[in-house]
Amino acid sequence: MASKRSQKADRIRHVMATEGDSVERNALGFNDGRYESVARLEDYDAYKDRARAIKEDAIERLPELIEAVRETVEANGGTVYVANDAADANRYVRELARERAAETVVKSKSMTTEEIDLNEHLEAEGCAVWETDLGEFVLQVADEAPSHLVAPAIHQSREEIATLFNERFEPEEPLETAQELTEFAREYLGERIEEADMGVTGANFVTADTGTIALVTSEGNARKTVAVPDTHVAVAGVEKIIPTFEDLQPFVELIARSGTGQDITSYVSLFSPPVSTPPVDFDDDEPIADDPNDREFHLVLLDNGRMAMRDDDQLRETLYCIRCSACANSCANFQSVGGHVFGGETYSGGIATGWEAGVHGQESADEFNDLCTGCSRCVNQCPVKIDIPWINTVVRNRRNRGADEGQLDFLVEGLTPDEEPAGLDLQKRFFGNFATLAKLGSATAPVSNWMANTPPSRLLMERVLGIDRRRELPTFERETFVEWFRNRDVPRPVDAEYHAVVYPDLYTNHVRTDRGKATVRTLEALGVAVEVPEVASSGRAPLSQGMIATAEGHAHEVSADLEPYLEAGYDVVVIEPSDLAMFRGEYERLLGGSRYESLADRSYEVFEYVYGLLENGTDPTPLRGGDAARGVGSDIAYHSHCQQRTLELEAYTTAVLDQLGYDVVTSDVECCGMAGSFGYKIEYYELSMDVGDRLGEQFETSDTADRTVVASGTSCLEQLDALLSRQPQHPISLVAPNGSD
């Protein structure tokens, strides 16, 4: 186990060192571009809703639409072949090549042909196969797999490509600039296109009513691939079908913006083949237009697991994916490692888990599925609104359940009263049951803290559980937040207008009790009657390990614990954003119905709640404003929390801090990299720090280096603590009135 973890750590370290810089530069560029481009699109949200609705409908009616496509394409003069699997599709295309005695086949970019390894099969038939998309061409020359859905060679720098081309092609003058490399490739591939006997493309969309193929490209190679040779084969997953031609419009508005951050790509080719452009025979010297237009078109619709995904309630959403790459570009881990770590046989980024599990099988997803930390930053970026982290959780859960039985460990057994199968990885089981550990930790503090931090136990923890020794462990408080509240002697307000439960999340209750106390003082100072009852932990910890049944148990307990308060008219104030994200998000799946709604509707992030109070006229005077800040400056550098930003709650904290006279600058990284247990795991520690460095840098600029650092999430605080010499704190500790605890 330990060696498997360290192998993984080695591999990640290697990829970060060799590919990390290029990946980071490109993915961040696309990500920034996306934010700007979608902001320019009026009705962005409405387009996303439409795109989602079109996909839901199309997948629902897929069998019928496949038949409709067959009819329209055949009426246009083409042929449709529905291939059950990769072998079936390859056999079909190979036979076409054989019948046509095709010597040269040119291709435009297609992930679906990557999925089935079509090139190898055509080469086995004796064809020279050329990728004409420049990124794919680089990969073909380098003999590498794509590291990105849209820009497959983002892991290669210009210098590396130049070296590669100079070695392989030995041009008279060595190639150096991007311009020279592009011109060389254009020339070289132009000749291949001229001699091509067959062109192979993918399809971004296929419309059922007109039999139209839509190809979204920038280079013009797809158009040449279709126009020049007389035989065109398009290979597309069955999920690419949408009902009508007009349904293309929202996707055309969304796809490039979501991917590379362009408003639109240079070319959106729409054609119902065979196309009317005459094929060009470059050996001929008659006018091109004189050639009779006898073109051939074959559409290969690939199933390869997709129809089974359609029947799978959890994986079905994957089929809505238009492979725009937004989920990869907005992913902090992906930004550090790219698709060669965060990806499977073919697909990369957050949604790759769904695709790989569906088309290549669960094992292909297992290797990289843990790279999704559930930070949820991709969720709002997906143009078809796929709950990508949920798909990752489900696949993780399935892997857990498929794990080898019988690996019980007496050490951990007592700490893991969960619903999971016996074979579940110990590391996952340990982090998934953090609630039990925290209780024990507090009960035996400070001894538990001393014990945990001795070198032998750190070594043991690293060996058995894969907890990296370089991470500082949380320090458990002997008196929990709940106990503090119960023991204190403060009169309750009698006729308060607002009543609130402060949710004692695991960390606030056992580790960071200060922020709980500060919350209570703040709310009471604003006239709220507060309660801090014992409430079960949210289930975030087990859920992040893919332990869905255990998380579901937590959700039911939380709901039962809070029900009497909700019935009595209490609001629920939540300090830890990842727990609020559970209440508002995953609990819909775990609890459902009215129990979910009543909790979700009445739960607030602490600053969201304070903001509401101030908006409703509560006097903010009791809070500590910027000028009165005790022992700290009024200039703040604030890092919101990934899930908090997905819920669009960041603005409440900054608004309240502004109102209180603080000067706030905010980070704009997607995630701090800690992500709950992720940053503790030995195989991911260095990746976690690499992601964290992007945040650290933002708080070490000339404008931010002297600011007080505040952050909302526990993980973010731990990470910032490791990254900076300044001690970060929760913003509530800043504004809370002084107390005597």
């Binding site: 007109t210 920038s218 639109i264 240079s266 070319y267 729409l270």
Partner: protein
């Protein structure tokens, strides 16, 4: 207030497409000032202007296509808020003339402008159902960033230039 034509022009420039406005009467003169030689093209499906009698070779051979530095073709539509044009593929090879040469000169009529993609797709839907079912929505020159920096002119044109035929010039 900016007219649809103004918006179209502004957006064409944003996507690196030069624009020249002209009238049908002045079209051939304008064209002569805009094309490079040798130029190939496909005859324009418009009544008010023609490429007959210009330096543009219509119905080129493969060699002429390969040697041409400029291609002249018509756009069926212009999409104002994207600066996009709809290029139809024709048996005369319009698509090829707009794809192979280094410079693409696009002739678009003001009356064929639509405000946005929604309107463009409505028009295109009708055309496609009528059987005119090959179109490329082209926006600016061909481009790639695959070689480590943004480069224009990959498999398609490096430069695009729109000649807009004004309505009021008829």
């Amino acid at each position: 207030m900016a007219t649809q034509l103004d918006t179209f022009e502004t957006n064409l420039e944003t996507v690196r497409t030069d624009v020249t406005r002209t009238t049908p009467a002045a079209f051939q003169e304008t064209l002569a000032g805009v094309i490079d030689h040798p130029a190939v093209g496909a005859s324009l499906p418009f009544e008010e202007v023609t490429l007959e009698g210009t330096d543009v070779t219509l119905e080129p051979t493969p060699d002429q296509l390969r040697e041409a530095t400029c291609g002249v073709t018509a756009a069926a539509l212009g999409v104002a808020d994207y600066g996009s044009v709809v290029l139809e593929s024709t048996p005369a090879g319009a698509e090829l003339a707009g794809l192979f040469p280094d410079r693409h000169v696009i002739v678009v009529r003001e009356r064929d402008l639509v405000p946005d993609m929604a309107a463009a797709f409505e028009r295109l839907g009708d055309r496609f159902r009528d059987g005119r079912d090959d179109a490329v929505l082209a926006t600016g020159p061909s481009a790639t960033a695959d070689m480590g920096a943004l480069v224009y002119g990959v498999h398609g044109p490096r430069e695009t230039h729109a000649i807009v035929l004004e309505d009021n010039g008829e």
